[in-house]
Symmetry: C2
């Protein structure tokens, strides 16, 4: 165990569980410290995990790296009621092998990595889009017609509240309160995704957290087809919420995108004349088409384990911390996703 303790903070934030014993020893305390978020996740019962269907995965294989090693990025597509028009297009694009031979065209530091047809803007050279793509209206940036009824009651967890919503799709909406969100009346996790919503007009929408995948578009009223996609690689650009379509998130291999050289052109677009070299995309396939693909699962956002995890993210009491924040923003409570394990 490396001794430098910004390390321990990271361990709790994003890494395999630290055994309580060593935490107690490391902290020199007789009593083990409270569980770190990663420990709560590691100890969550199998029943609190929800499997992700292969048909909801998008698998992007980049050209091998400089050492010839494969670079695979796995994306989970969002479920209804969100962005289904664009996701339908993305399924058609993948089935048509549209992205094979395209490239990563843009890497802007602290913003996005974007990929698609490098010649998309040149009608003479652009790849032909498959037939049947639909044009999705801007109104689909959010889900509406959801009846929202509130019962805000303090949960058993200190510092956490539970908010129950009856939405068209049913289920609970787990929210951490009373933390403010500058971008929404409320924000929280529901159905495995980070969401914001407005009480005024009963709108609910996915939010731009690190790793979320969206659809590049032209100026309004254009909403994009899904042929050009981007992933957030910096601080959450929440100002994009409700202004552009989000269709999923990277659940494995994001480091193959975040560590790419930043583009020297405007907005981080690769400029070949300035020596930038695009990273090629060998293929993008729906998970159901990929042989030998692992199965994945996420920690149910409606589970008690998630509520405990979210509370621990907002009130860090594990060995490294001396002052719990007493709050957290929605993008700092990422939904845990892992390769499926056996029952435990």
């Amino acid at each position: 165990m490396h001794k430098t303790l910004i390390a321990l903070a990271a361990l709790a934030a994003a890494s395999p569980a630290l055994p309580q014993a060593s935490a107690a020893i490391a902290s020199g305390k007789a009593q083990p410290s409270p569980l770190a978020p990663s420990e709560i996740v590691a100890q969550a019962p199998k029943a609190d995990w929800t499997g992700i269907a292969a048909s909801d995965l998008l698998v992007m294989d980049l050209a091998p790296d400089a050492k010839g090693k494969p670079r695979r990025v796995v994306i989970q597509l969002m479920p209804a009621p969100f962005s289904q028009g664009w996701i339908g297009n993305i399924r058609k694009l993948a089935a048509a092998r549209f992205w094979d031979g395209t490239a990563v065209n843009r890497v802007q530091d602290n913003y996005v990595v974007q990929w698609g047809d490098p010649e998309a803007e040149d009608k003479a050279k652009a790849k032909v889009l498959p037939a049947g793509l639909v044009t999705v209206p801007e109104s689909d940036y959010t889900a509406k017609n959801v009846s929202i009824q509130f019962e805000t009651k303090r949960a058993s967890l200190a510092g956490a509240y539970a908010v129950t919503l009856n939405v068209a799709q049913g289920g609970d909406f787990t929210q951490i309160e009373p933390f403010g969100d500058p971008y929404a009346n409320l924000s929280g996790s529901y159905g495995g995704w980070p969401l914001g919503f407005s009480l005024g007009n009963s709108e609910i929408w996915p939010v731009h957290c690190y790793g979320m995948v969206g659809v590049g578009r032209d100026l309004s009223p254009n909403t994009g087809t899904g042929a050009e996609l981007y992933v957030v690689i910096g601080h959450a650009p929440r100002h994009l919420d409700r202004n552009i379509a989000l269709v999923g998130r990277v659940i494995e291999g994001i480091e193959h995108l975040t560590s790419l050289p930043r583009g020297k052109g405007a907005l981080g677009f690769y400029d070949l004349e300035q020596g930038d070299e695009r990273t090629g995309i060998v293929s993008i396939r729906l998970g159901a088409e990929v042989k030998g693909l692992p199965t994945y699962e996420y920690l149910s956002t409606e589970s008690q384990s998630f509520a405990k995890y979210a509370d621990a993210r907002a009130n860090r009491r594990d060995a490294f911390f001396i002052r719990p924040a007493g709050g957290a923003d929605i993008c700092n409570i990422p939904v845990p996703v892992r390769r499926s394990t056996g029952s435990r």
Copy 2:
């Protein structure tokens, strides 16, 4: 101008100003759209910019990249009343050439890049620290003894408030209200830095935004010497606020750190046995020691231009946007820093 408009969003967010004319043309509108944040910054009068003294810069030269190109990272150290004990140590470490020949030892995706003596944990191999380093108390994670008096009044800018504080160091505290911050009673920009503070005990502290530089430490009560430093490369890990020292921010060259391969070891530490290769640090010097260093300036957070910029970040009305957020979090209103220009 690339046509895909996640591009325009980025342009407004982080790039050189887009001429109004082309914005109007691009959007097909007869009237030019309201200024993007980047345009407000580009048009800010010279008087609204504050120079950064070379003595407050730390210049890190990494080993050249695979193509032999130099990789320089420029860090601005924080002013009083923040973290001066650690910053004093950092000045001693730089003067003693402590970091020459050390390395980047850790790159954890969506968290931090960390550097220092790879052998720091091995007493037999560790480099000897220079004499005169001080041990800084945990109480210095925040600045206290600041008398805070509130006058909250709506400013001339729609959606923005101005909060005037009388602190020991004087000056105004520019805050964007009524946006909530889950990590502080209030947060905003003061003296050129993103800060949070507590009304209860009159504490004020720097916050962990993208690009901020902090001091690795062991478990409490250890607070770190400053010999091991990290920079935030992902979504703001605000839970670290008041738990660890922040000493500055990267103002140029952060892409040389953020695009490094992620470490394969626990917490993103480089594991040589797994094939990771550390990036060497040729030297780290105080700016005053570096010949030919450019001069830098930041947009005064007490200027009207900054207030307009912050309001525009929170209420995007430029061509790309169809629904302004009506709010922003402190880390999504980064203080503009640039190489100094002539008067304009």
